[in-house]
Amino acid sequence: MAEKLIEVKHLKKIFNEGKPNEVRAIDDVSFDIYRGETLGLVGESGCGKSTTGRTIIRLYNATSGQVLYEGKDVHKVKKHKELKELNQKMQMIFQDPYASLNPRMKVSDIIAEGIDIHGLAKSKKERMDRVYHLLETVGLNKEHANRYPHEFSGGQRQRIGIARALAVKPEFIIADEPISALDVSIQAQVVNLLKKLQKENGLTYLFIAHDLSMVKYISDRIGVMYFGKLVELAPSDDLYKNPLHPYTKSLLSAIPLPDPDYERHRKRIRYNPSVHQYSDSDKLAMREVAPGHFVYCSEKEFEQYKKAYKN
């Protein structure tokens, strides 16, 4: 088994705790991310997938539970120096390429901000050389360094966002819907770029999205979230061939595919949480139905799922 880079243990994030408008955005979620893999996280808006990403990188403080990065609890780090180290290892790419770049900063300064903070360049020349190199890595060129974000198209801005994330030589990147705001033809460019960078630099990705065909294409494993819970976690192919949790089935059956014949025969499966008929005595947990394939279920369902699983 590959080395665990990140362990998320019983993570909870509750907004407005104890108030009438309490939101249990993440409700006891546990999973691991292995070094060098891409873990996809899917689910409807409001299911907690973005909150999970943001809590891992400490944009939000966890209500309870742990996020371990190479064994170190991210939320317990107090020393400025250690925090800086962590921030260098973990980076984020955001969904909206229009809102996530400061419009008053030059592209070179946007990209080099992390380099400056972490003191990764010894001289001005080295700093600019790194910026030029990063621009080329993401498919832009030197001349773009002195321009401002508004001079770029959506796809190009997303490339700048990627260059900024790469600037501090991170090990782990959280990509929160990085392609949702882009046109189809540009989406493929960005996805190909992310895959290429992963291969070259051995990066680990947490890829958050709702476009399931793209998630399946880029991810090694996929986690499905529903109302703050992780309901199923499995290798990508396995999840598509053998979806076990009724919510996963319903989600898969709802995606329209670019194939008119398939669309004429597609039957949508509806998910109704009451099908589980959980009683208070049921112990609900993530259980391993097949190697690497986890489902959130009761003991009884666990036996059913094991029978239903096709090899």
């Binding site: 046109d183 329209p256 194939d259």
Partner: protein, 355 residues
């Protein structure tokens, strides 16, 4: 079959500070009664501008319909005034927008937004309009319609708001419904519900639909015919099967091949279309797609391609269909899905343009 709308040689320019943007450059298409035509293409390809031109919602200035006809239900609406259009909008044609939050009035109860339209169009009393509005809300699948009638838009979820938009759009039983990315802002499961609803209503009311989207999955689900737009022109049009199983234009190939299918393996690289769409202040000479296409020939940079007809229903604007053009091999993903169409002509036929 009766054509509900026919657009002939439509040209639309925008007069901006940085120059004249030629957003729509000679678009021709029609939609039959009860048919769904999908308009696909990237942002900036002119699909939304075309749709708004049909509603005559484009502000003039900066926009101007330079030439062409929009024949809606037998009448050319291009010369019509705003006052005349008021009668046509809603009655003959109506529109659903992408973002239901910004297209509903946040300070008005849902019920009034619907009944107002019914009163205006059908000249009925307030009470009758309310009954009809509640019927409409039920028809689009909003539970507890009577209670919902007095609520404000912020009390509705995104999917429910889009249902309200559809109810408003259908209030006057239009012959043509234009849906501009109606599900792009919604989650997959909600999207599936809205698409099912639209199909059901189309069957029931025999409405024609122009469906604008860039999601090819949605196109495969909804469309009878598909028109692919690029840089203000329609580059390929055909039945949904012809476009998905026998596409001929390199841009259509690129669009189809840039989406992974659920069984495409992670080893294959996605076929990305390099570069970005051209700036329409200075539309490129020749074939607008040539600069991004590896299939481009010399003539593509010199002269605009004519229209070729592949079958009764399938038209392609590309030099690749010229009898002297070299035979090119489309991307693997396109070959894998290719089917034979018995209705195809033995050779593509040049369409004589008489304008």
């Amino acid at each position: 079959m009766e054509k509900i709308i026919e657009i002939n040689n439509l040209h639309i320019n925008f007069y901006t500070q940085s120059g004249i943007v030629k957003a729509v450059r000679g678009v021709n298409f029609f939609v039959n009664q009860g048919e769904t035509l999908a308009l696909v293409g990237e942002s900036g390809s002119g699909k939304s501008v075309t749709a708004q031109a049909i509603m005559k919602l484009l502000p003039t200035p900066p926009s101007k319909i330079e030439q062409g006809q929009i024949i809606l239900d037998g009448e050319d609406i291009v010369p019509k005034t705003d006052r005349q259009m008021e009668k046509i909008r809603g009655n003959t044609v109506s529109m659903i927008f992408q973002d239901p939050m910004t297209s509903l009035n946040p300070t008005m109860r849902i019920g009034r937004q619907i009944s107002e339209l019914i009163i205006k169009n059908e000249k009925v009393s307030k009470r009758e309009a309310k009954v009809k509005a509640i019927e409409l809300l039920k028809m689009v699948g909003i539970p507890k319609a009577e209670e919902r009638y007095v609520q404000y838009p912020h009390q509705f979820s995104g999917g429910m708001r889009q249902r309200v938009m559809i109810a408003i759009a259908l209030a006057a039983k239009p012959k043509l419904l234009i849906a501009d990315e109606p599900t792009t802002a919604l989650d997959v499961t909600i999207q599936a519900q809205i698409l099912e609803l639209m199909k059901e209503l189309k069957e029931k009311l025999n409405t024609s639909i122009i469906f604008i989207t860039h999601d090819l999955g949605v196109v495969a689900n909804m469309a009878d015919r598909v028109a692919v737009m690029y840089a203000g022109q329609i580059v390929e049009v055909g039945t949904v099967d012809e476009i998905f199983y026998d596409p001929r234009h390199p841009y259509t190939w690129g669009l189809l091949a840039s989406m992974p299918s659920l069984d495409s393996s992670a080893e294959e690289e996605l076929h990305a279309i390099p570069g970005s769409p051209p700036d329409l202040t200075h539309p490129p000479k020749g074939d607008a797609f040539a600069r991004r296409s590896k299939y481009a020939m010399e003539i593509d940079f010199e002269e605009e391609p004519p229209l070729y007809q592949v079958s009764e229903t399938h038209f392609v604007k590309s030099w690749l269909l010229h009898p002297d053009a070299p035979k090119v091999i489309p991307p693997k993903m396109i070959l894998d899905r290719k089917r034979d169409f018995p209705g195809n002509f033995p050779e593509p036929v040049l369409v004589k343009e008489d304008r």
